[in-house]
Symmetry: C2
């Protein structure tokens, strides 16, 4: 069996005569992936939406591991992400905004901001895109 | 409504007391996202597996649009992707291999290789990671 700490795999197959793909990794439900009209038909996630989920889950994972290590119990956690595309090709994200909402007893803003600075060294997806894309964090700590 | 050619959004919520997230984009089935043990429980895609699907679908979309513009009818198309992680933190991919299989009447290797060189300027996800990650293409044209 694959050691996922070293190597990961995924499969993609075209499933119609346009741009609808089925993406999968063994053991998981498949993901419908498509592109926007006129080339595609909006029948699934776009590649860049999967990139947003990849980045936000990576950031979320790193933050939760760090905060729990600091003794915090997380009651609620969510990230809404928003990517702004370049106007020229390739129409990559020039900026991604991550809007984080968190509820955890006794969590202070300085503690959360410290965690945000620390994850830069442990979040692989952020590391992979930071040469090309500015990532901006916004956060709200719920009572 | 959001103009997806300019701006994209996605949502992520923590759904257990470990690292299981539900990721979603309006209009699509949600995606289970988790991390590997000991921190997570392997109950969904990892962030880096979503990155592989993001990259491979972006490359696939760009290739199919180009080849169809050149008059090719695509009969079969798939990409198996494999990402090799760094051994130090952040454990990002240092290399991604994309194994492409395609069936299209009268498609020659030189035509396919030309398409591979052209997509570099139109595939946003590849553009976003190429400063940090080497992407290696392998392909097989089926008869």
């Amino acid at each position: 069996m694959l050691d996922k700490s070293k190597q990961l795999t995924a499969s993609l197959s075209l499933v119609n005569d346009r741009l609808l793909f089925e993406g999968s990794v063994e053991g998981n439900s498949s993901v419908a992936i498509d592109y926007i009209p006129p080339f595609g038909d909006n029948l699934g996630y776009t590649s860049l939406e999967l990139m947003l989920l990849s980045l936000s889950s990576c950031v979320g994972t790193a933050l939760l591991v760090l905060l729990r290590r600091g003794g915090k119990t997380i009651e609620k956690f969510s990230i809404k992400s928003e990517g702004i595309r370049r106007e020229v090709h390739p129409t990559a994200f020039e900026e991604i905004h991550l809007n984080i909402e968190i509820k955890a007893a006794n969590l202070t803003s300085p503690e959360f901001e410290k965690a945000l600075t620390l994850i830069e060294n442990i979040c692989p997806v952020w590391y992979m895109i930071k040469g090309s894309t500015k990532v901006v964090f916004h956060y709200k700590i719920e009572d």
